[in-house]
Symmetry: C2
Subunit: 388 residues, 2 copies
């Protein structure tokens, strides 16, 4: 097991009818900015419910945070925070709204060009750079990214997606009420299942370091997603299935399974380019890249692939090669069983576009990916060819 | 899955050579009280190392916190905190030292008789009762209780053990360096394995509520303890085995596996009386009670016992009854394989002492134990008879 640090002060309020807790955890004298996305939170009446609970607090709204939240949108909210003296934010939405709110939180009191905050990536933004932040809570409407219980965000700027991480960016609290997610479109739920699955795989499918508990937890999340994935899409009001999805997605990226293990975020890095260039949904981009990555990196990941085959898919017969091949096949089959296509060409992206993706990976410095930093652009090209 | 709240702001610093982090997380202008136990932390040179790292900070020491830390000992430390204006504490020890330090932290600024703090039990001490606390970090020397990453303590007073829980009592940080634990006596390591195992069982072996991830994590911790238990006792310097024990013990009681599930703390409640009355080690008392409890409550816990048999012990043959019986047998066998006896009579406690235990359970209000609060004194008596 590698040495590690773990710190996660986000308070989770989980279950049915928990929205009232907003009143408990937002300071009574706060001036609040509610942030949200495309309007469904408004139309469904959720924003109104939240405002009722906020009672006499002074409340402003900032809607329109898009999927893959864009810098240009978020700086408009920063202006509101500054001009209205906002001292607490409430993000009502999925990963994009929460990610965007983290950026607003970090940028609002930053002295300088807030595009600076996009340049730190996985090295994390030092405290002294940011100084003061605007505290915020979240009301999660889409189980997927885990943003509700971590300190990371992915922000779009021009044609790139940038990781923004800072220990000051943890939500103060997150309300996770599975019933709020009952009305989500099927495809968004499917994308959420895949996002959580791939987050887990990226912290698990590397090389073994004898981190037994972390492996077991990762395998537990993967098995849970496999068990409930189809059900929670076909039976959106099945509380238990949805509750297990919500908690799995949060646990997949709150730091617990990442403690002391190598990590391979290649799938997200290549996936981000597919989203930025071709508008492929984030979850779909991951469903395209992961199986191809596993096929190309089979030898490198053999030991963990075998463990994955046996413990997650319960494949106990056949040679090692057969087990590993079957596990990858079953992974792809699982994504497709959720109604998500796993080949680039099915999204209208053909071989002639691969050089464009490679060029963007190069522009963004993604030339030494993976847990061993030896995944070159040549290998990314092979993965994209495999994904066609 | 039940509704739940989860909050755990303790920072974990895990791995080899992490002691230097004390300097990072203890305020540079703090007046520090180092708390420790019977002297092994002193003799081994650990306290001196810690003092060197604390550098120019003003440092006081309070040693002699005993196993099952006693109120009368801890109030002496409270006097030091008050008279020397201590504003940070560093607990160097195992669960008893850390538990004791939590109590000192809560009691130091309490206006009133600090025995009041013993009366809240699992209902937790309200913030407004405690007011200010003395912040503290820990250097863990014994993997067992999980106290390094939770807000609970067990304090002895007269002939009882009392749960003390408060959200203000989380350690600010905990240094978990497995190499520090290499020199522990074998029996203490065995007790630690059992303590972590039983903590996990108490949050798992109840009735099913379809909390899939929590179940998988609990099963993962149990499997890990089974895998490394004997090894980490016979090969104390096997880093990986010990690291897995340390992280398992922490994960077993940091709140994660307890989210949204019923819990049955009967084993600890009866075990506490055995320790208080007969001086049986905490871990040993659990090894005596748990198998007997499972045998007596077999019907009540049948569904989870079957899941436990199949997933933890991989028992796939035989009837349901055979599987369940074998799983309980294997649990007892596992404890004994660690060198810990699992029958009361082996500790010199015979049938004539059972009424004394029952009387103490009655005195302490332990008359409606378990996840369903229907475990009466009569049933406790059956468990004790079964444990003879």
């Amino acid at each position: 097991m590698f040495n590690f640090d773990f710190y996660n002060p986000t308070r989770i309020v989980f279950g049915k009818d928990r929205l009232d807790n907003i009143d408990k955890y937002v300071p009574t004298d706060a001036t609040v900015l509610i942030t949200f996305g495309g309007g469904s939170a408004k139309k469904s009446g959720l924003i109104d419910k939240v405002k009722t609970i906020l009672g006499n607090r002074k409340v402003y709204e900032f809607g329109g945070i898009e999927a893959n939240p864009h810098y240009e949108t978020l700086v408009k909210a920063v202006e509101i925070v500054r001009s209205k003296n906002i001292d607490f934010m409430l993000a009502v939405g999925g990963g994009s709204v929460i990610d965007g709110t983290k950026f607003i939180s970090l940028a609002s009191h930053y002295n300088g060009d807030s595009r600076d905050l996009l340049k730190y990536g996985f090295t994390r933004i030092p405290f002294n750079i940011v100084g003061k932040v605007v505290p915020f809570g979240t009301v999660l409407t889409l189980p997927a990214t885990g943003s509700e219980m971590n300190n990371g965000a992915v922000i779009s700027y021009e044609h790139g997606k940038f990781a923004v991480m800072c220990e000051l960016a943890f939500p103060k609290f997150s309300i996770l009420d599975p019933t709020i997610t009952f009305t989500l479109p099927k495809i968004q739920v499917a994308n959420g299942v895949i996002d959580a699955f791939v987050h887990t795989m990226e912290q698990y499918m590397t090389f073994p370091v004898d981190a037994k508990v972390q492996d077991r937890i990762a395998e537990g999340i993967l098995q849970t997603l496999i068990e409930i994935g189809k059900t929670t899409i076909s039976e959106p009001k099945n509380y238990d299935a949805r509750a297990n999805l919500v908690w799995s997605a949060t646990m997949a990226l709150n730091g617990i399974i990442g403690t002391g293990v190598p990590q391979d975020w290649t799938t997200h890095m290549i996936g981000h380019e597919l989203t930025a260039l071709f508008g492929i949904d984030h979850g779909q981009s991951l469903a395209i890249v992961l199986p191809a990555l596993l096929e190309v990196r089979l030898e490198k990941k053999r030991a963990k692939l075998l463990q994955y085959a046996e413990r997650v898919w319960h494949i106990n017969k056949g040679s090692e090669d057969e087990k590993v091949d079957l596990a990858i096949h079953k992974t792809r089959e699982f994504f497709e069983s959720l109604g998500v296509k796993t080949h680039l060409s099915m999204y209208g992206v053909n071989a002639d576009k691969i050089p464009v993706v490679i060029e963007q990976l190069k522009v963004h410095g993604m030339t030494a990916l993976s847990e061993t930093q030896d995944l070159t652009l040549d290998i990314s090209q092979k993965i994209l060819e495999q994904a066609l």
